[in-house]
């Protein structure tokens, strides 16, 4: 079976500036694929080219085995799209908006069913302008789901939402995926990518710098645990790389970060080494995609 989305050597230039700079991508059917990267990495531009809303400067794009220049009408029927920001008309109700979007598609799902799925049934008669941020975002996703799409594009679906709204949206995405459908989403939240995505591409400066399952990407660090510490007296990262089970060490914003394979082996040695130097802080956490990004670029995702 052909890929849901495939693009090769995708380039999009605005004047001299390359927002997307030779990007290869393959999304398999039935998976949730995440483009993870900081703001300005080129995620939105990439997605808009894949959605047929922006023209590529160079490169090949295939969506559901079709091409935008030849099969636009057929493709539009089969996609669900939620843009990074859409202001639906303020004074239409939730249900009116959804009916409007439903009317554009030859096939689709009943409006009531979609309202139920995104938990907006009790808001059906409310004007869009009176919805909370999370409700607006769920309505935007509902407008994408009402066509019963094979492929769903979500551009930063949970940016700026409170934790509860984010979890509600995650449930909607997981439910969609559980029916064998494909999702391509962008995010700069690593927890979101870890929770939802089967495959993640880390994007930076218009290029993919790492690709794999969240597990694989984290495993590429060499260890599952991250130890962060700071000392009163100067300490070079290299001094710690020889300690047992320490796989990597680098300077972080306010100290040193170590990638560790097994905490119970590494910690006694770390304490013994740093104790005399005046250890002021030590914390550990499970490695996340954030650590992968920092490891690859030396920068944090939201800088």
């Amino acid at each position: 079976m052909e890929a849901a989305v495939r693009c090769e050597k995708l380039v999009k230039k605005y004047g001299e500036l390359a927002a997307v700079d030779g990007l290869d991508l393959e999304v398999r059917r039935g998976e949730c694929f995440g483009l993870l990267g900081p703001n300005g990495a080129g995620k939105t531009t990439t997605v808009e080219v894949l959605e047929g809303l922006n023209d590529a400067t160079a490169g090949e794009v295939e969506v559901l085995g079709m091409r935008w220049d030849r099969n636009e009408a057929a493709l539009r029927q089969r996609l669900g799209i939620s843009l990074q920001e859409t202001h639906l008309p303020d004074r239409l109700t939730v249900e009116e908006n959804l009916r409007l979007f439903r009317s554009f598609y030859a096939q689709g799902r009943p409006v009531d069913e979609v309202l139920e799925q995104v938990e907006l049934t009790d808001k059906r008669a409310t004007w869009t302008v009176k919805l909370s941020g999370g409700q607006k975002q769920r309505l935007a996703v509902a407008c994408a789901l009402v066509s019963d799409p094979e492929l769903l594009f979500l551009d930063e679906p949970t940016t700026g939402l409170d934790p509860q709204s984010r979890r509600q949206l995650w449930d909607v995405v997981l439910d969609f995926k559980s029916r064998g459908r494909t999702v391509l989403l962008t995010t700069h939240y690593m927890d979101e990518a870890e929770r939802l995505c089967d495959h993640v591409a880390v994007v930076d400066k218009g290029k993919i710098i790492a690709l794999g399952t969240p597990r694989e990407l984290i495993a590429s660090l060499g260890g599952d645990e991250i130890v962060e510490l700071a000392t009163q007296q100067p300490l070079a990262p290299e001094e710690l790389t020889g300690l047992p089970s320490v796989k990597a060490a680098r300077r972080s914003a306010d100290g040193i970060a170590l990638t560790v394979e097994q905490l119970h082996l590494a910690l006694p040695a770390i304490l013994a080494h740093t104790g005399p130097l005046g250890l002021t802080r030590l914390s550990t956490h499970h490695a996340t995609l954030e650590d992968v990004f920092v490891h690859l670029t030396g920068r944090h995702l939201r800088e």
Binding site: L53, I81, L88, P89, L92, R99, Q107, G108
Partner: protein, 343 residues
């Protein structure tokens, strides 16, 4: 796949688009006022300003008591006995329209470019030479159909069709563009022509509301009626509305923000406010610009409206302006669809 069920569950896109337009309009009190209330207020204000009044008397300065006696009986004349210097000063400053100096021969001093002065001269002449010109009968005209308000109401209807078309479409479309709603809509399989059509249909439907309000008011307040057929009048208005809907779409087709489109709308409408015979007849403009004025869509619309409302013209009497308006509607709609910026 159960195709018939899916088809039955699917709302019609053009219907939904038009419904959305109507809902959004009626949920915006400001827009409702400008479309329905403002033209009413304007016609009240102008109707009061130009209501029929008894004619103002003209002022004449005479330089001798004999002349004063001779002109005493002239109707519609206010006399003043002044010496030569004072009389000339009064004429210069516009306090009197005419100075009559004793003769023989009697001399009339007046500025022939002032209509009141020519009227004063004629009145004075008639009084001084009662048997001069052949006898005529004056028949004052105050019947409906020839008053200023009869001229004004069709002009206001035309103006309203123009401005609510241009603002109601041009502004709204550009706002949808700045809010990225257009981009979201073209990410669906929505028919772009149907999207633009929904605006045209909305304008035509509005007319069925606007027109009874304006016509009913004009009849109740000023006894302004419709001499011709009402269905023809509605037809003229709908064709006019479609042509300004097309123009509104065209003006909005590229603009990236609401300031730009506001400027464009004003630029398009201003020549028509002044030159299309809303408040006064286009005949006041020089011959050289008449072809240009006749080509303006609002001129065509106003001409057709007045032909039906005042002269009772039939379909053949308004065919010319209607053709021009219909052609403009088709051309602007096609051009807008072609150059429209959707993203």
């Amino acid at each position: 796949m159960n195709a018939p069920v899916a088809a039955a569950a699917r709302p019609h896109p053009l219907r939904e688009l038009t419904l959305a337009r109507l809902r959004l309009f009626f949920r915006e009190p400001g827009a409702v006022f400008w479309t329905f209330g403002f033209p009413l207020l304007l016609s009240v204000a102008l109707g009061i300003a130009f209501r029929n009044r008894p004619p103002e008397p003209v002022s004449i300065a005479v330089e001798s008591p004999q002349l004063q006696r001779a002109l005493q009986g002239a109707a519609g004349v206010r006399l003043e006995l002044l010496d030569d210097e004072a009389a000339r000063r009064a004429l210069r400053t516009g306090k009197v329209e005419l100075v009559v100096q004793p003769g023989p021969p009697v001399v009339y001093l007046f500025d022939p470019t002032r209509p009141e002065s020519r009227l004063a001269r004629a009145l004075a002449d008639a009084a001084l030479h009662p048997r001069g010109p052949p006898a005529t009968i004056d028949a004052p005209v105050t019947e409906p159909g020839s008053r200023y308000i009869d001229f004004l109401i069709p002009g206001l209807i035309g103006m309203n069709i123009m401005s609510s078309g241009m603002w109601g479409i041009g502004y709204v479309v550009v706002e949808m563009r700045t809010r990225k709603l257009l981009k979201r809509l073209v990410a669906t399989p929505m028919s772009r022509a149907q999207f633009l059509w929904s605006f045209v249909i909305m304008r035509a439907l509005f007319l069925l509301l606007e027109l009874p309000i304006l016509l009913g008011f004009a009849w109740l307040a000023f006894k302004v009626g419709v001499a011709g057929s009402l269905p023809l009048l509605v037809g003229v208005c709908i064709v006019g509305a479609m042509s300004f809907a097309g123009l509104g779409l065209l003006v909005a087709s590229r603009a990236q923000n609401t300031q730009t489109v506001s400027g464009l709308i004003n630029l398009v409408m201003l020549p028509m406010f002044v030159g299309s015979g809303v408040f006064f007849s286009t005949a006041r403009f020089p011959e050289a610009v008449q072809p240009f004025l006749r080509a303006l869509p609002l001129t065509a619309l106003n001409d057709a409206l007045r032909a039906v409302m005042i002269d009772g013209a039939g379909p053949s009497g308004v065919a010319g302006p209607l053709l021009l308006l219909a052609a403009l509607a088709a051309v602007t709609f096609a051009a807008a669809l072609r150059i429209f910026r959707w993203r």
